[in-house]
């Protein structure tokens, strides 16, 4: 790790001011950033911790939606959302290990947009809204490919609002080594239709499987997707699975998520 300066502002405004420096990076849990810094693969001059900003923390359940502060840890979400949105809580409770869940935050995960992360699938399938210090971004417009998001320079996530579906489930198939998603599927059934988001599989990061959504909106059962197939083109391929395998897995997991959602 190289030397760096560390600041821990207590307001969003102070954080944005600190991040105006080109060499500054936000820190919101650091479960990706810190390991890369330790390996000297990343060398910010200043780390701006967002964890001192109380306004970014906590869970609010109101009516048909759950709002989660960006600096809320996975462990907190797993605990406090369990009643209002069990599928989301279960997802948060199965990210990484206890150490990761007690440091990592939802804002950090969504800002990083790792193509194998869990939260992007929940946000996209739920039709969540990513709220920043500047604007509100619908999930459909937020994810722009592997490690790419709609966030601009100096823009930080403040909270994420999830509409609560009638039924939902997330099924993750773990990559054997990292235990990230080799493929993960979040299915959410709303009055207006079903949304299906797939993480871990595509070279473009999280994506919606519209064909499955259509089929499931008409018939919310695993059988509805059994005849469908995902194109292997554009799927990731590595030591742990070919593109064909990931495409197949995503389909299998979609059916299982539907069954789990009940």
């Amino acid at each position: 790790m190289y030397n760096f300066d560390f600041v821990k502002p207590s307001t969003v405004e102070e954080a944005v001011a600190a991040l105006a420096d080109d060499e500054a990076q936000p820190l919101s849990g650091g479960q990706t950033l810190i390991p890369t810094m330790k390996q000297r693969l990343n060398a910010p001059e200043t780390l701006v911790s967002l964890l001192g900003i109380e306004a970014l923390k906590g869970v609010t359940v109101g009516g048909d939606r759950v709002t989660i502060g960006a600096a809320t840890t996975h462990a907190t979400v797993a605990r406090e959302v369990a009643e209002a949105y069990p599928a989301l809580a279960a997802l948060a409770g199965n990210i990484g290990d206890p150490a990761v869940r007690n440091r990592g935050t939802i804002g950090g995960s969504l800002a990083n947009n790792d193509p194998a992360a869990c939260y992007p699938a929940a946000a996209l399938a739920s039709g969540a809204t990513v709220v920043t210090n500047r604007r509100e971004i619908p999930a459909d417009e937020y994810f722009e490919g592997m490690f790419a998001t709609a966030l601009e320079e100096g823009e930080i996530i403040t909270r994420v609002t999830f509409p609560i579906p009638e039924a939902a489930a997330y099924v993750k198939f773990e990559q054997p080594a990292s235990r990230f998603a080799l493929a993960g599927v979040f299915v959410a059934k709303f009055a207006g239709g079903v949304r299906v988001a797939i993480t871990g599989a595509s070279e473009e990061g999280v994506f919606r499987w519209s064909e499955a959504e259509e089929a499931l909106s008409g018939n919310f059962s695993a059988g509805a997707v059994s005849a469908l197939s995902l194109d292997a083109d554009g799927m990731m391929a590595d030591l742990h699975g070919s593109a064909e395998y990931r495409a197949h897995l995503a389909k299998v997991l979609t059916g299982r998520a539907v069954t789990a959602a009940g």
């Binding site: 790790m1 198939f173 054997p176 080594a177 080799l182 742990h240 699975g241 395998y245 197949h248």
Partner: protein
């Protein structure tokens, strides 16, 4: 059941410090004034190394000195401890293994320069300012391509990348060919024994220290065999006589073989400490461990089994390419040859066997012994091909094995591959494992799995290993450049307590608990009165260390011999004290008595007399009570056993879940059953790791793709079933005093084929024509095989 002697499950006394974080590992040692070294390691697999410019780096803050290969002119290379002779009678090709890369880079991770600085961060900063003048060369990664005509050479001074082409037993080759020509059935299997990274929990550490006042050097290191390191490094690398060199291996957090070998970092720290007159410390990062610890396995094999019309095995032949990596690690050449070819008979009466092994240099990290070392590779191919034969012939795999077993009345049994098994009862462990596994009730469980949409399979393997390594005169003939005896000094204190100084080394095996059980049992005192000292060349007799499941069989035997000497002398003293004839003295429950009388003296009275010899036969015997023994075994020991594994395969994802695992081992006599069970369970865990998860993968350019835990899958508790262990089938070893065989590697040897056989069984029962899947049986691989 004995309370705390031989055969008792005494709780491990060392666990108090390990579980409370008070163990003292090498990294816990910090010497006054120590400097830190960071090694600049090659990030390409194969390149010329034209120049290393350290001028800018040397000016960086805190830098004490930067070392390159030039500083090691006149210093030897890392020695190889075993010379294999090829099938033409020629010695293997043995290139120099320099401490720092000389003129050429041969694998990712090879040390190019070493920066010693006041702090580790300063050393790392300075290393980034070193300029390398290199020219990339095509990497040699695939073994078959490496030995093809015109392949680039890893070592320009060698004739090719072929280290040796070994044939065993060469004289049998023609007869084996003839048997195959006459066979009623031939089963052929091509397979890969996947390359592994050992990944002990504690990474390697080395601290060099130099004392000007007596011109002596000390190396603190994470080693399984400190005396071996002292000998190799002192005599062959740095030219330090043994009386001026001390090697200390304190608590070591797992070795699994990869801490046997003498590594460049150890020699570097010892050398640099003397140059700088400062202690020099290195602690491997996990990332460094992946590219600098010796790897394991990495064989590519074609095996064929010939059977007659009655399903008797008539011949076996096997051709293996064994990866040596870029250099010969300490015992690398012996692993695919003498620790592998000699086990190809397995548990069977196969009369004719021919083993060919081509050892190959590639631009990869050196490969050497890893838990089992050659024996897992032998067992895997043999137990896979036997299983495949049974399936091809439509017979029960258990019964085909039973039919071909060496029968218990045939011991001692000389195999066609040069070893003689002293004892065994293979049907006993087969029957025991089948009973433990509920073999007969499998169909019910299969139906239950099928109802859940899962494919269930059952697989078994029967292993034999050669442990208790090893008879020195025999291994000397086979090319070992070391003896493989073990030593013990038993020091009895005046008040009756004992200290046993052993050449064995404990890095998880529990010697501090099990060794005292033996000594205490012999004398009839509490194990609490016995302390074990190991791991420091300054206070233990010259010993060869711990590997090859040798410690209780060889080190324990040395301890027995030394204790016998102690008892013999103590009886003389007791006879004097009781004015009786020495021949009439009996030792029982810690007291000496005169046979047929009520005369008795306690153990403590005798030990006190030995050190306060006021009433003592000084004309006949010396005062004091301390004895040393060196024990050189007459033969290997041959633990064996049967492992049965049941799996469920998810047909939609290819995911394999191990449902149950039964291990019936014959370890001969057992000193501490609890420790033995732990050793087996740990070994099975590693074997399941190899079979399901672990895979060390290079790309064609020699970059390690599985270079961290993000891509190298270690087994976790959730991947393992409850492992049912039994060691009640005991045919004691006939040639060591304890009748023990050793248990450290069995689990890792026997488990991979059982698991793979179970998966193949599950798929074939489902009608899939899958006859083999290479390890690890990852979900993607199993799914691909099912859908091929």
């Amino acid at each position: 059941m004995p309370k705390d002697g031989i055969g008792a499950s005494v709780k491990r006394r060392e666990d108090l410090r390990f579980l409370t974080g008070t163990g003292r590992y090498t990294d816990d040692i910090n010497l006054r004034g120590q400097a830190h070294v960071h090694f600049l390691r090659a990030d390409v697999a194969h390149a010329t190394l034209n120049a290393v410019d350290t001028s800018a780096a040397a000016e960086m803050p805190g830098v004490l000195r930067i070392f390159t290969a030039k500083d090691f002119e006149g210093v030897g290379g890392l020695p190889c401890g075993w010379q294999v002779t090829d099938k033409h009678g020629q010695p293997m090709q043995e290139p120099k293994h320099p401490i720092l890369a000389e003129g050429k880079i041969r694998h990712v991770g090879e040390i190019v320069a070493a920066v010693v600085a006041e702090t580790l961060e300063q050393a790392r900063d300075a290393a980034e300012a070193i300029e390398l003048d290199t020219e990339d060369l095509p990497a040699v990664i695939d073994m078959k391509q490496a030995v093809a005509e015109g392949a680039p050479k890893v070592h320009d001074e060698l004739t090719s990348n072929l280290c040796y082409d070994w044939g065993f037993v060469e004289e049998n080759k023609a007869a084996v060919e003839e048997a195959f020509a006459n066979a009623a059935h031939v089963t052929t299997l091509e397979l890969v024994n996947n390359r592994l990274v050992a990944n002990p929990m504690e990474p390697r550490v080395a601290i060099g220290d130099y004392a000007l006042h007596d011109d002596s050097s000390t190396l603190y290191t994470t080693s399984q065999n400190p005396h071996v390191i002292r000998l190799l490094m002192g005599a062959f690398v740095l030219g330090i006589p043994e009386h001026k060199l001390r090697v200390v291996a304190p608590d070591v957090g797992g070795g699994f073989g990869t801490k046997i070998f003498h590594y460049a970092e150890e020699a570097f720290c010892t050398f640099a400490a003397k140059q700088l007159r400062r202690p020099v410390k290195w602690t491997s990062t996990r990332s460094e461990a992946f590219i600098s610890d010796a790897h394991g396995r990495d064989h590519v094999t074609k095996i064929q089994l010939a059977l007659d019309a009655d399903n008797n095995f008539t011949a076996l032949r096997t051709d293996t390419y064994a990866n040596m990596g870029a250099y010969l690690s300490t015992f690398a050449p012996s692993v695919p040859t003498w620790l592998h070819g000699t086990l190809m008979a397995g548990n069977y009466r196969t009369p004719l066997i021919y083993v060919n092994v081509k050892a190959v240099f590639t631009n990869t990290v050196p490969v050497d012994a890893y838990r089992g070392a050659g024996r897992p590779e032998a067992t895997f191919q043999l137990e896979r091909v036997v299983d495949k034969a049974a399936r091809e012939l439509g017979v029960d795999p258990a019964e085909l094995r039973r039919q071909n077993f060496i029968r218990k009345d045939q011991f001692p049994y000389a195999t066609p591959v040069a070893v003689e098994y002293d004892t065994g009862d293979y049907e006993a462990t087969l029957d025991k494992a089948m009973q433990m596994a509920g073999y007969a009730g499998f169909e019910t469980r299969r139906a239950a799995s099928a109802a859940k949409g899962k494919l269930r399979g059952i697989g078994l393997s029967h292993y034999i290993e050669a442990c208790g390594i090893a008879p020195s005169n025999l291994v000397g003939q086979l090319g070992a450049r070391a003896g493989l005896y073990e030593s013990a000094t038993v020091r009895v204190n005046a008040t009756g307590g004992l200290v046993v100084m052993t050449g064995s080394h404990s890095h998880g095996q529990g010697h501090e608990t099990s060794f005292p059980q033996v000594v205490a049992d012999m004398i009839g005192i509490s194990p609490d009165q016995v302390e074990i000292v190991h791991g420091d060349t300054a206070n233990t007799p010259m010993g060869m260390g711990t590997y090859g499941s040798r410690s209780i069989a060889v080190g324990g035997s040395a301890m027995v011999r030394a204790t016998e000497k102690i008892i013999a002398k103590a009886k003389k003293i007791a006879a004097h004290l009781m004015e009786a004839s020495e021949a009439d003295i009996e030792l029982k429950d810690g007291a000496f008595s005169v046979a047929g009388t009520d005369k008795s003296v306690a153990w403590g009275d005798v030990t006190l007399a030995a050190y306060v010899p006021h009433n003592y036969p000084l004309d006949d015997i010396e005062p004091g009570l301390e004895e040393t023994a060196f024990y050189d075994p007459a033969n290997f020991t041959y633990p064996s056993g049967c492992y049965i594994c049941e799996v469920e395969v998810d047909p939609d994802t290819g995911r394999v879940e191990v449902q149950s695992f039964a291990a019936a081992d014959d370890f001969g006599n057992v000193i501490n059953p609890m420790i033995v069970e732990g050793q087996v369970q740990g070994g099975v865990g590693q074997g399941i790791g190899q079979a399901l998860l672990e895979n060390c993968v290079y790309d064609a350019d020699g970059q390690l793709l599985s270079a961290s835990y993000m891509d190298y899958a270690m087994p976790r508790a959730s991947d393992l079933p409850m492992i049912d262990v039994d060691h009640s089938c005991q045919t004691p070893c006939t040639h060591n005093p304890l009748g023990v065989k050793g248990c450290g590697e069995a689990g890792a040897i026997g488990s991979p084929p059982a698991l793979v056989n179970a998966v193949i069984d599950a798929l074939q029962r489902d009608g899939k024509s899958v006859s083999h899947i290479d390890m690890p049986l990852s979900p993607a691989r199993v799914w691909a095989a099912m859908n091929a």
